[in-house]
Amino acid sequence: MSKLLEVKDLHLKIEDAEILKGMEFSLEKGEVFALIGPNGCGKSTLAYTLMGINNYHPQKGEMIYKGEKINELAINERAKKGITLAWQEPARYQGVTVREFLSLGLKSQGEEVTEEKLKEALNKVAINPAQYLNRFVDKSLSGGERKRIELASLIFMHPELIILDEPDSGVDIVALNNIAEMINYFKDSGSGILLITHSEEMLEYADRAALVCEGEIIRQGNPADISDYFKSFCFPCAKEEDCETEVAS
């Protein structure tokens, strides 16, 4: 497998608070790499930084995508190169239908918008096209519906790198199964997936995993081992000395 993304010594400070402290990892094509950690450890910040969201510009370090440094690229330039982000709380849009929202992904790829393509994408996320295509992507959708529609919209991007920020948060068991299927679908399509989560259950969909603590990766490896470690030492948080002892061992 070839390197899709390399993150080297990434530092990010927002208003004097150092959020990312030398983050370092890599991701291969067709691989699901999970970053797990407690709330507030810097996972979502990393997602925004990789996507190039405003005010998330690293002061130090490199983000290298397919051999190209992308630190200075705008969000849409990164998107056009094949990077996309599914937000933890996807935005709602008044007056924009599911049909229009999905069509944006197709249009941005220069592809023809057809009813069949839209239906196929919604069917993949277990959303009934007849009931949803003309609904608005607004507050009337539940959290799970909105997340599944977000994933459906990604299909048309043909993304090479997908950043999934807490895809399991606020969704029911049906939506969760569906999200898992979509992770496998994208993986099988050759996309690399950065799966950001604070739930150890999600690690079973990952090929590799890393534990993030206070803006740093403190352990990488087999998802089962990372999950065990997370359960044992992060809830409640082990004292720094004990935790470091374990890391060292």
């Binding site: 996507m51 969201i53 405003n54 705008a74 969000i75 849409n76 990164r78 998107a79 056009k80 996309t84 982000l85 937000w87 709380e89 996807p90 935005a91 709602r92 849009y93 008044q94 007056g95 924009v96 229009e100 944006l104 992904g105 941005s108 790829q109 608005f136 607004d138 919209s153 991007m157």
Partner: protein, 312 residues
């Protein structure tokens, strides 16, 4: 080409449906003070008279119990660069009658045009009047629209007005709508306007829920850019038991645009309830960046969000 054809063409160009040859569709076509076309259907009477230079008096009556199947199409406008059109409109929706009116106001070449609408609308008990007004003003910004409506909705009556001006320049708009609603009556006033350059939008919509269980919604969504300005004054009063209403004003501004929202909520009965929301600001950054993460540039993403808001 005659004036009638030119008006119909301008109407179609502004997005209107080609309905004027359909004998089952009532219509009225006015260019300045010229009555170019008029057609009624069973249950609906239309009278139009030129009463002075530039002024036409129009009376529309929907007879008791009639439910007009197809929307009535009204096409008003001024075709030359300069001109004035004043319409004195009286609408009578009789008991249990129902009608939907689609009014298209076209001023495609306007440089100095004035369009004045003075309307009195009476909706009798159980009657329903849906009025959708769509404006097309061209790109010169030379239109001044002054619209005043006095509306009376009797018990179980229903009024819906929807105004939109989404393409071309606004110029100057000054609306003043006032509605009194009796028991179990409903009123819904929606405005969707996109302003640019030095456009000026002034809207005053007032609904008075005077009867028990009367309902009212005042909903304005305005997008402004360049140096455009808007002042939206929404007033909803409730004087009776179980009267309920909501005022919603959302304005998105860009560049040097200025927006003001003045919601007035006045409740004078302990069992009445009126709520209001007002939001003025730039395009939401999370919405914007989500679309940019789909490959849209900032301008394209803003346009999707603004058009969505205005289509809502």
């Amino acid at each position: 080409m005659n004036d009638y054809q030119m008006m119909v063409d301008a109407y179609k160009e502004a997005g209107g449906d080609d309905v004027f040859a359909d004998s089952e569709v009532a219509h009225l076509v006015l260019e300045r003070d010229k009555i170019l076309g008029m057609h009624a259907v069973e249950g609906l009477e239309v009278e139009a008279d030129k009463i002075s230079n530039d002024t036409v008096k129009v009376k529309v009556t929907i007879k008791e119990g009639y439910k007009i199947k197809n929307p009535v199409h009204m096409c008003f406008g001024v075709l030359p660069k300069e001109g004035r059109q004043k319409i004195e409109m009286k609408v009578e929706v009789q008991k249990d009658a129902q009608v939907e009116v689609r009014a298209d106001c076209v001023f495609p070449n306007a440089v100095q045009v004035e369009h004045i609408m003075d309307a009195v609308i009476n909706i009798a008990a159980g009657g329903s009047y849906i009025y959708k007004e769509h404006h097309f003003h061209g790109d010169n910004g030379g239109v001044e629209v002054i619209a005043k409506s006095d509306i009376n909705v009797e018990s179980y009556g229903k009024l819906v007005t929807k105004f939109d001006l989404l393409k071309g320049r606004v110029g100057k708009i000054d609306f003043d709508y006032e509605a009194n609603i009796a028991e179990h009556g409903t009123v819904e006033m929606l405005a969707r306007i996109s302003g640019q350059q030095d456009d000026l939008v002034k809207i005053r919509e007032a609904a008075h829920l005077k009867g028990e269980s009367a309902r009212g919604i005042l909903d304005s969504k305005i997008a402004l850019k360049d140096q455009a300005e808007a002042e939206i004054y929404n007033e909803l009063t409730a004087d009776a038991a179980e009267a309920m209403g909501h005022v919603d004003c959302t304005e998105i501004i860009k560049d040097q645009a200025i927006a003001r929202a003045i919601p007035i909520v006045d409740v004078r009965h302990p069992e009445a309830k009126v709520t209001h929301e007002a939001a003025i600001g730039s395009v939401d950054s999370t919405q914007l960046q989500t679309l940019m993460a789909r490959g849209l540039d900032e301008e394209e993403a803003s346009e999707v969000i603004i058009q969505g808001l205005l289509n809502d």
